[in-house]
Amino acid sequence: MDSKNYNTPKLPNWLASKFIDEMYLEEFFGDLEEIYEDRIQTIGKFKARFMYWFDVIHLLFGFNSIRLFKTQNNSTMMLKSMFKIAWRNAIRQKQFSVLNLLGLTLGITTSVIIGLYVYNQTTFDNFHEKGDRIYRVNQPAIWHNWDRQFASTGPNVAVALKEDAPEFEEVTRLLSQGTQTVRVISENQKVNVFSEPKFYGADGNLFDVFSFKFKAGSPLTALSEPRSLVITQETAERYFGYEEALGRTIDVKKSDGTWTSYKVTGILGNVPNKSHLQFDVLSSMSSYDSYLKPDEWKWIWTGFSTYGLVKEGTDIAALTKKIQAIPPKWAGVTTERIFNQTFDEYTAGKPWTLYLQPLEDLYLSTNPWFHRFGPNGDKQIIKVFSVVGVLVLILSGINFMNLSTARSTNRAKEVGIRKVLGSRRKSLIRQFMFESILFVSVSTIAALLLVQLSLDVFNNIAETQLALIPFLNNPVFISIVIAFILVLGVLAGSYPAFYLSSFNPIQTLKGKMSAGFKGKGVRNGLVIFQFSISIALIICTFFVQKQLQYTSSLDLGLDQNNVLQIHNIKQLDENDAVLKSKLEANPAIVSVGKSFSVPPFILEGERYKGSQPNAQVIDIGNMRTEGAYLDLIDLEFIEGRNFDKAISTDKYAVILNEAAVKALGWGTSENYISDSPIDKTVFQAFDEEREFEVIGVVKDFNFTSAHDQIGPLMILHMDNDQMWNFNRGSAFLSIRIASEVVKDAKGLQNLLEELENEMSQIDASILFEYSFLDQEFEDTFRYERRMGIILNMFTAMAMIIACLGLFGLAAFSAESRLKELGIRKVLGAKVSQLVYLFSTEFSKLILISVLLASPIAYFLVNSWLDDFPYRTAVEVWVFVVAAIGALLIAMLTTGFQSLKAAHKNPTETLKSE
């Protein structure tokens, strides 16, 4: 059996290695692993892990306690005595001790997890050796909004930078190739086909800029020859299994269906998770010279990410200023040849700025808001999480202090007796401090264990790969933990240590202790603070959920249900008609339509203008499809008609959405009666300025995602050969499935198998990939949904901690008022009156918290919702529900204590004085 199949838990191993002599370690670990392996076989992994932990801790204590208790000098005796007293005190007030530890542990756990997440998100891309000199070149989003930055540029920007700015040591480019189909033939002649969405073209000097680790091949030359590929370790294993990958041949399918052979010239270690660039395959940019060279001058071919490595000591501000001369000089050709405008006419006063964005800012960048080569984080979420993390930590810290001080007032007598017996103030202070710090340490260690145990769940939800273990060796992390323990321990312990120890023993022993009273105002303030935070969090979380609910149930303007989209149709070429007619004959399928893009990914666009004089040039989104598809997704025609197969001129006709009509300056739907947009013409504002006739107007529908406002859209006939991109790009066949087939899981499965079969009969080399339209729309809110779940968990944590605190305080207050309640009872008060008396005290605090929290929450929610074009209403009932909820929770937590106290027999409480 291969011993490497078993990974023993790391944290206990680390612990053991710290606390056990090195000479014993080898045999311990050997024995532990041996037992662990046996246990995995017999009782399963989970139990085996648990027992492993148990064994290690047992070993640790066994070894060290013997040593500790064997020594008998003054300081260890003292330590032992302090331990003993701390232990006795903890045991005497079990309820308090447990509440106190539990609250603090939960709080630390939550904030450590948040801390790990925030650290992970804010330290992306920190593994590149020359990282501090790498900048991405951004330009204005010329297709959308010139005020915002766009993460990719035209091909020539790199050339221009190299030529005009010697401050750059290297300039390198990445070109997104879209999803590529790859064919691999294994040593035993088995043919495997893969679909590669993360397949990018890269300049030969990419690895001079970025430090991705090579496993095989040379970083200097790997991408210099045409038809070279660099693949990651994981990809190599996927392609070749355990066979040697370097030097092998891989075929990549071209858009015309033929295959081009590439040679594997480099194997990379897997791309780190914390990289804003994520790829599986990189091909040498020189492989594309045949189509790249003729079009290289096009500054509007914005598919390239341009990265510059500046020379050491370069003044970035000066360099940025200097490179602003490049666009007017270089981009003029593009505007003149494509848009028939000079550079100045084209930009119309908006500066075509080139921005240099430092590498460390790329991942969390909000401007540009996305890039094509990997993930993009969300600064907003990081901020929210950081705030929540700190708040939860403060909450639990306050709780801890609150309960500790409340608890310690019971110990005034102990202080008195100790003093009478000759204890000095110093040793009293030391005892209280020791206890407090001990408590915090115990919770911290418990919290770290809890973090380790719950990280898997968190990673699953957040789709991250956080780990605690690496930090345990990190001196900064350790010092933060120790500093935290000391600060909180000292803060919480200072009240009893300095205040209680100052009492005159005669007074405390006589019972004239009013210490509890003084701290009351502070304690109430802290309760209000806690509950304000918790209630505000609850309200915010409520609205986050409400907004998510709202956007996912939004009327998209199209019927997204039961629509299946088959990808890779472009590769079928002429044969798509064969497939289509077969599908149409299938009884499970209601209708079929072909399109060159599908919502919510209709991202193409061009520049057009209306036919009227002095018409503005505007950007309009483009969708190329046929009439059947528009019927299939059930668009509503407000004016005019759909494409008609029988009318041959429809090939050059277009259908607009309302937003496009408005943007062209033709008014809104109310004045269509007097001034119908039908039969008007739209001009291309590029190439030969061909004109298209408008035959229909559809109601606005969502074609990107509910994140965005619906923009202007022009639906072109897919046979329109007067567009430069006629018949280019990827194509989809969309299918509306009969609803009874969808309802039955088996029926759907059968249909999918049938479709795959049909497709492979035509061409087996084409991958059968599909998606569901409704699913795609849902997925645009995937990130928000995930974060929503996490926020829910954290809010629940905050609420639990606050309740634990309140519960503890109520218990304390009930205990210290037992006599008062007893006297009241003797004098004739009913149980219900006592409970009322008791509850109102806390309810008042909660009500004040509600009043404080509501405006804060309202402000936060409002500013968050402002970012959404479609926002849910901020309704009062949410605040009311949150307030009532908080009150109820508070009532429940205090109610138990008050009932218990009120039911006590007064003879019991009053008998001893």
Binding site: F29, E34, I35
Partner: protein
Amino acid sequence: MKNKGLGEFEELVLLAVCILEGTAYGVAVKNEVEKHSNRTILLGAVHITLYRLQDKGLLTSEMGGNTEKRGDRRKRLFQTTQSGLLQLKASQDVRQKMWQLIPQLNSGI
């Protein structure tokens, strides 16, 4: 060194080491004791006892014998010393003597 006598668990462990004769290490001893006494024992307890016995001079040990399991780590193999055997014998004798003094057994009931 003063003869302190053996604890019950110490005696079991020492016996197990004798039985295993040169192949006694943590896990093996644990299994052996579990097998004969029908109770579950923690590995840590075995280790600590083994070392205590070594401190008392009843066992010696050396490193050796790695296997394919346990991640290629060596074991610490324990052996009884002369005084260990004497100690066992002594405690056996004590028990034997006491057994013989139980009247019920002697009268054959």
